[in-house]
């Protein structure tokens, strides 16, 4: 039994959390391999944080089982807490401790003696080490949170919405750090509602919606299975472009109001083939636009809903 569970960093079997009539997490099962970055992608309220907090032993599941680093979340809470690192959503701590003191404080809580300078260097806070927590910007607080999540040199790190609310520059800084941890061989369990974050960082993505995992694969696998085909949009062309392109064996639509032609590309036909065919037939076209399919489309196709990140897109 131990071998069955401990070869995976996380193994979840039929995990369920109910609050009265509300089912926050609905009997989900999945595994996370050691050394991979696994992302839970879904809108706020999908059940991401509830799942993570059950794995962190902060909430008790209504039913189901889960093993973290081979340890049972129902029995070995203290052992799991000692071995895992956690960056909670919106990390916050004693306001009047400095960056350095904060790392030492949490090191003390794990009875470990972290390499404070090494951690400060890792999260690029060396020149802020004597600044009080309350004087740090949101991005720096989050970076300190990552350093704090590493004080016990964990094998597995839970990062709950690590870049939520950060500006693009700070967000890229956080991503860079997560990639660095991955290279060191850490297992990372990430939750996010930013599709770009999942697409860039994760080896595998689980899409969670209303407490259910609706799809799970690599970002590219998800896009090719559930995404739309890539689209080529030709501006300022005419109706004759449509039969010309369809001769290549792919679909094209003409939009009468805009005068645009939308071409549905597939694996066998490249953009250059379309352009060559048009120019040899003497059909004019102006501007070109290529629309790549993304996890956003995957999410839309799977759930019929958008991820709702318009207000803070990159």
């Amino acid at each position: 039994m131990l071998n069955l569970t401990s070869d995976k960093a996380i193994r979840v079997e039929g995990l369920t959390k109910r609050y009265g009539d509300l089912i926050a997490v609905n009997g989900i099962s999945f595994t996370v391999d050691r050394g991979e970055i696994f992302a839970f992608l879904g809108p706020n309220g999908a059940g991401k944080t509830t799942t993570v907090e059950m794995l962190e032993c902060l909430r008790k599941p209504t039913s189901g089982k889960a093993f973290v680093l081979g340890l049972d979340i129902a029995k070995d809470q203290m052992a799991i807490k000692k071995k895992a690192g956690v960056l909670p959503q919106d990390f916050y701590t004693y306001e009047r401790l400095t960056v350095k003191e904060t790392i030492q404080y949490y090191g003390g809580m794990f009875d470990s003696h972290p390499d404070v300078d090494g951690l400060l260097k890792l999260v690029d806070l060396e020149d802020k080490k004597n600044v009080l927590f309350k004087h740090l910007s949101g991005g720096l607080k989050q970076r300190l949170g990552i350093a704090v999540a590493l004080v016990n040199d964990p094998e597995l790190i839970f990062l709950d919405e690590p870049s939520a609310g950060l500006d693009p520059k700070a967000r890229h800084g956080v991503w860079h750090m997560i990639e660095g941890l991955h290279k060191e061989g850490k297992t990372i369990f990430l939750t996010t509602h930013y599709m770009e974050e999942a697409e860039i960082l994760a080896g595998r993505v689980g899409i969670i919606h209303n407490g259910n995992i609706v799809a799970m694969d690599s970002p590219q696998g998800l896009i090719s299975e559930y995404g739309k085909r890539n689209l080529l949009i030709l501006k300022n062309t005419n109706l004759t472009a449509v039969p010309n392109i369809e001769k290549l064996g792919i679909k094209a639509n003409y939009d009468q109001t805009t005068g645009d032609v939308t071409v549905h590309l597939n694996h066998s036909v490249a953009v250059s083939d379309v352009l060559h065919s048009l120019s040899t037939s003497g059909i004019p076209f102006g501007e070109l636009q290529l629309k790549r399919s993304s996890l956003e489309d995957v999410f839309l196709n799977l759930t019929g809903e958008s991820l709702g990140e318009e207000e803070d897109t990159l």
């Binding site: 909670p88 919106d90 004693y94 009875d111």
Partner: protein, 371 residues
């Protein structure tokens, strides 16, 4: 245990870096001690009495009128304020809302001499003008009358057949400050412990510090133990400031013994637990302050901090008997001021039992995370 020490260090550092918290921890008890000490300790009771002497010869008071003024003065009961002899004193008293005024009429000296010679009543009498709506006027009136009565008694060569003997029952003379300061130490233990517990819990719940702490091996009871020790330390700081002021400014004499230190520790424990219990039911920091006020304010006024319980109506006294602060104040007074060991131990015992009950319930119901 090391977790407790680490968290305690963090709390003490945070305190030392928070200027406004330091200020209030020291200023609140200091201001109250100085203010109440000054109001009640220095004003030995004296009543204002206005006086108009119309019985003058060549601008100088006559023998009998000046003798009466001297006797009134030497009684030590009155602040005598002399009015000009030419004004209409009664009108002056009305327009200036004076509560007590004594008018010695012109011819008072001659009339008194005549009365003595003839053994009849004097024709010219002093007039006591007073505002019956004030509480002091009847007292002033009866003191003036008893002074004149004793003058009459001496002039008629009477004999003191009956006498009153004084016997002071308190071993030392205690002032208001002796009563007030131990009560104020109790209040400081209460406000420090309840307010910090409630507001820290509400803040940590809201801004997510509890959430992070819950992911570490730190146990809840370790954190609560650290907060309790912190509250004890802060209360001791406030207590030290008050004792220094009491001794330096008011010349108090008091005993700081093991029982009084133990009482303060147990009081902090009890109020920390009470704070944790309140914190369980508040959602945000604003609500936390309001809830803490609702508990601490009535206790401050009903537990015999500012005035003795015996001066309160009976039904309030019975309320005071169920308020824990009453036992803290009584116990501290007994140990620090009156040297009543038995009373001190009794009250400390009650507070210790309540303290352990509160801290156990508080620890038990405190949650870092909503399950």
């Amino acid at each position: 245990m090391s977790h407790v020490v680490i968290d305690l260090k963090a709390s003490v550092k945070s305190f030392a870096r928070n200027k406004s918290t330091i200020f209030w921890t020291i200023a609140f008890p200091s201001v109250l001690i100085l203010l109440f000490g000054a109001i009640f300790s220095y004003s030995s009771v004296k009543y204002d009495l206005y006086l108009q002497n119309q019985d003058l010869v060549d601008g100088k008071p006559t023998y009998w009128s000046s003798s009466l003024v001297d006797v009134l003065n030497s009684s030590g009961v009155f602040n005598l304020q002399t009015l000009n002899s030419t004004i209409n004193a009664t009108d002056y008293a009305i327009s200036n809302r004076l509560s007590s005024l004594l008018i010695i009429p012109s011819g008072f000296n001659d009339s008194a001499n005549m009365a003595l010679l003839t053994h009849t009543q004097s024709l010219e009498n002093v007039t006591f003008v007073y505002d019956q709506s004030t509480s002091s006027a009847p007292i002033v009136g009866s003191i003036v009358k008893s002074i004149i009565g004793s003058i009459n008694f001496q002039l008629s060569r009477g004999v003191n057949y009956l006498n009153v003997q004084d016997l002071m029952i308190a071993p030392k003379r205690y002032g208001y400050i002796d009563f007030f300061l131990p009560g104020m130490i109790g209040v400081t233990a209460m406000t420090t412990s309840i307010f910090t517990s409630v507001s820290i819990s509400a803040q940590f719940k809201q801004n997510g510090v509890f959430h992070k702490l819950a992911t570490t091996p730190l146990k809840r009871y370790e954190w609560i133990l650290s907060r309790t020790v912190y509250n004890v330390l802060i209360t001791f700081l406030g207590m030290a400031v008050m004792i220094v002021l009491g001794v330096a400014v008011f010349g108090m004499k008091m005993t700081i013994d093991a029982i009084s230190l133990f009482m303060v520790t147990m009081a902090s424990l009890m109020f920390t637990g009470l704070g944790m219990i309140i914190a369980r039911f508040v959602k945000d920091p604003d609500g936390a302050d309001a809830a803490a006020n609702v508990i601490t304010f009535p206790m401050m006024f009903l537990s015999g901090t500012f005035f003795p319980l015996s001066q309160m109506p009976l039904f309030l006294q019975s309320i005071a008997r169920v308020l824990p602060l009453t036992y803290v104040s009584d116990g501290l007074r007994a140990s620090m001021i009156f040297g009543q060991a038995q009373t001190a131990v009794f009250n400390t015992g009650i507070v210790s039992v309540l303290g352990f009950v509160c801290i156990v319930i508080g620890s038990w119901i405190t949650k870092w995370e909503e399950d």
